[in-house]
């Protein structure tokens, strides 16, 4: 399959994620959008690894699996980040009894 299809899909997913982070008020939804961004990058990495697997099968066999190993790294980081982030959201909920991000305007002016 042409690589451009995968690239387009990844870009669309990433943009949806960015817009979601910027626009949504619910903290959990924002987190889901961050995960979306990370997963779009994962998708792109796997697509590129498959592309290179075909090209460099003879000259550099490990090139492809480098990218797939990196995907695992990204997933681990995403998991850790979700842990910390959800803990912060729980604290936020305890203090303001909602998960609305707009309530965090104590730093105004």
């Amino acid at each position: 399959m042409p690589i451009y299809n995968y690239i387009t899909l990844a870009i669309i997913l990433f943009c949806i994620g960015v817009i979601g982070v910027l626009t949504r008020r619910n903290a959990i939804i924002i987190f889901m959008c961050v995960e979306l961004m990370l997963n779009s990058v994962n998708l792109l990495l796997v697509a590129f690894s498959k592309m290179h697997n075909v090209e460099f099968a003879v000259t550099n066999p490990t090139l492809a699996s480098d990218a797939q190993i990196f995907v695992f790294f990204i997933m681990v980081v995403a998991a850790a980040e979700v842990t910390v982030g959800l803990a912060i959201i729980v604290m936020l909920y305890r203090n303001t009894h909602s998960v609305d991000v707009n309530f965090l305007n104590r730093l105004k002016n």
């Binding site: 008020r25 991000v101 730093l107 002016n109």
Partner: protein
């Protein structure tokens, strides 16, 4: 024998040490100790000056260099002293009279707190130090250091009782007028430097360097030097500070404004005599201004009622005489008059101080009278001083004044006529002062009469010494018509004025003319003084105001008021303009404007902080995008 003259550095150094000790230790030292240190430093300088004088008399002159003051590729100025006849003579005058006045001050100022007493002596020592630098300097720059120093000390000492605003105003006036003159002096020095490249006397006055100056150069330089002299020596137009300077203590008036500082201008011109002889135009200007000042001051003194003001105007008038002497080429006569004037004017001031002290601070002559029987020593010495200043033979003033008048007649008889009329006025107002103070009956209050007494030895001893000098001081330069080879001073100073005398021969008068001139001036002065004694020994206090011409004289020809209207008020308006428009709106506006714009900008930027997390993330994304685009293109 250059090594004996090497110790001339001690002469100014000892007063400087006295200044430091008295100044820094003014809170700890007792009054007796301060007096001893202050007077002792000057006495030591005087003894060394006597030694130096005898060295110079036997022909040992030198330029003693100490260190390089300014040392660049184009400019070499050494800190050096020139010890020759002129400077050694002035050294004697300064340290001798300085010592007597220090002794006088120990008694006169003894009412002050010991801190102020020590401050006074410190200032006096600093003044003597500066004056010694002025006369001993071997180039115009060292002279200028001393020149500025005496101006500063004059300011400090006139405003000594600084809690009184009038006194500090007088001090400021003196310093500012001095400064105006100093501008002329500096411009002349710069001109010399540009044309010749050196300011050492020995180099400037050599024929080689003088040839480099064109006629306009010399006239310009000498005129500017004369402007400096008018400021320092109180000639028209910069003389109004001297009568106001009487606000200072009487020893200050005696030392600074009679005997030493005001003679700095004459010293400077005498030192540069060759330059002035080469500029006849400047010499006529000097003569005319000297005569005008002498006449103006004498007319004002006729109507003054404060004893010190009369003496102040008398000083201005006598300084005018000295400048006339310089202007007509009688350099020795002018220096001679400096010397004799120092003696009798210091004597008169110190005597006036003694009278003021006895009268408990009263300075108005209309409240004095008949003091003869209470203060015999003061009376006698004061009388001798008055006779000297009036030009009565055989006292000092006669010889010096007649030498100048004779030279003036040789130049132009009109100068002589004006000079002699001024001499008559001098005799008149001095004996008016004498009669109103010492003769007649006492016009003061009963309390003052009880307090009258002769002053202590510390005051009478200087008076007696100066009186003796006023009597015999003239005999060092007896003119040819009286005694052959009697003009010792002229012979002594001849190396200094040799170049000038070679250029322009001295006009000698026929002895009969000489006798006639002297007879006219002496008899006229004698008649005037007898008339004054007659009129004022019967003086009664009058309560009517002065009217007409007398009022003009009493108000000093309104010169101060004229200066105020022409110079001071416009200057104040200009400063007010600069303050309001340029300073407040312009510069302040700009500087404050910078602050205000920073304030405004930060207020706008503060609005970025909305507290909304979403906004912050948005800005973060925008920043990342921008960085991405930048790295794409650059």
């Amino acid at each position: 024998m250059n090594n004996t003259l090497q110790l001339v550095w001690l002469i100014p150094f000892l007063p400087l040490v006295g200044f430091l000790i008295n100044g820094l230790g003014r809170k700890q030292l007792s009054k007796t100790l301060v007096g001893i240190i202050g007077s002792g430093a000057i006495l030591a300088s005087f003894l060394i000056s006597v030694f130096v004088f005898f060295q110079v008399k036997s022909g040992n002159t030198a330029v003693v260099t100490f260190f390089k003051f300014i040392d660049t590729t184009s400019l070499h100025i050494n800190f050096a002293f020139q010890i020759d006849q002129l400077s050694s003579l002035f050294l004697l005058i300064i340290t001798g009279i300085g010592f007597l006045i220090h002794v006088y001050s120990t008694s006169y100022m003894h009412d002050e707190k010991s801190k102020d007493f020590a401050k006074f002596f410190a200032y006096l020592n600093l003044f003597v130090f500066s004056m010694l630098l002025l006369v001993m300097g071997a180039n115009y720059i060292i002279m200028f250091i001393g020149w500025e120093g005496v101006g500063l000390c004059s300011y400090l000492l006139i405003g000594f009782w600084f809690t009184n605003n009038d006194y500090t105003d007088a001090a400021k006036k003196a310093f500012i007028m001095n400064r105006i003159g100093d501008l002329g002096f500096l411009l002349a020095v710069f001109w010399l430097l540009t044309k010749i490249g050196t300011v050492n006397y020995a180099d400037v006055f050599s024929a080689v360097n003088l040839a480099k100056l064109s006629a306009t150069d010399i006239t310009g330089i000498t005129l500017l030097l004369f402007v400096g002299a008018t400021g320092k020596s109180a000639q028209i137009p910069l003389y109004t500070w001297l009568p106001d300077a009487m606000a200072g203590p009487t020893p200050v008036s005696a030392l600074i404004h009679a005997a030493t500082m005001v003679t700095a201008g004459i010293y400077m011109i005498a030192r540069s005599n060759i330059l002035f002889t080469m500029a006849p135009f400047t010499q006529s200007i000097i003569t005319i201004i000297g005569l005008a000042t002498a006449v103006l001051a004498a007319t004002i003194a006729l109507k003054q009622n404060d004893i010190k003001k009369v003496l102040a105007y008398s000083t201005v008038s006598q300084l005018g005489y000295m400048f006339v002497g310089l202007g007509v080429g009688a350099y020795t006569g002018a220096v001679f008059h400096v010397m004799t004037h120092a003696f009798f004017k210091a004597l008169l001031f110190l005597g006036a101080g003694s009278v003021i002290h006895a009268m408990g601070g009263e300075q108005d002559m209309r409240n004095m009278g008949g003091l003869k029987k209470y203060m015999s020593v003061t009376h006698l010495t004061f009388l001798l001083g008055c006779l000297a200043i009036a030009g009565m033979p055989p006292f000092a003033g006669f010889f010096s004044k007649d030498e100048i008048l004779g030279a003036a007649f040789a130049k132009n008889p009109i100068y002589w006529v004006v000079g002699v009329l001024t001499a008559f006025m001098t005799a008149f107002y001095m004996f008016r002062l004498y009669a109103m103070t010492f003769l007649g009956k006492f016009r003061g209050t009963h309390d003052q009469e009880h307090h009258l007494h002769e002053s202590l030895a510390a005051i009478t001893f200087p008076l007696i010494t100066l009186a003796i000098l006023a009597v015999v001081g003239g005999w060092i330069n007896i003119p040819e018509v009286f005694m052959n080879n009697g003009d010792k001073l002229e012979q002594f100073l001849s190396p200094i004025f040799a170049a000038s005398n070679a250029l322009v021969a001295k006009c000698e008068l026929v002895p009969s003319t000489d006798y006639t001139l002297m007879a006219v001036s002496v008899l006229g002065a004698l008649a005037t003084l007898l008339y004054a004694i007659n009129k004022f020994s019967k003086y009664e206090k009058v309560t009517v105001e002065e009217t007409g011409f007398g009022k003009v004289l009493e108000n000093k020809w309104y010169v101060d008021e004229i200066y105020d209207a022409i110079i001071v008020k416009p200057l104040k308006k200009v400063s007010a303009f600069f303050n309001d428009v340029v300073e407040k709106s312009g510069i302040d506006g700009f500087v404050n404007g910078v602050g205000k714009s920073v304030n405004y900008g930060s207020r706008q930027i503060r609005l970025l902080q909305s507290g909304q997390v979403g906004n912050y993330v948005l800005l973060m994304v925008i920043g990342i995008l921008i960085l991405f685009i930048i790295q794409l293109f650059f």
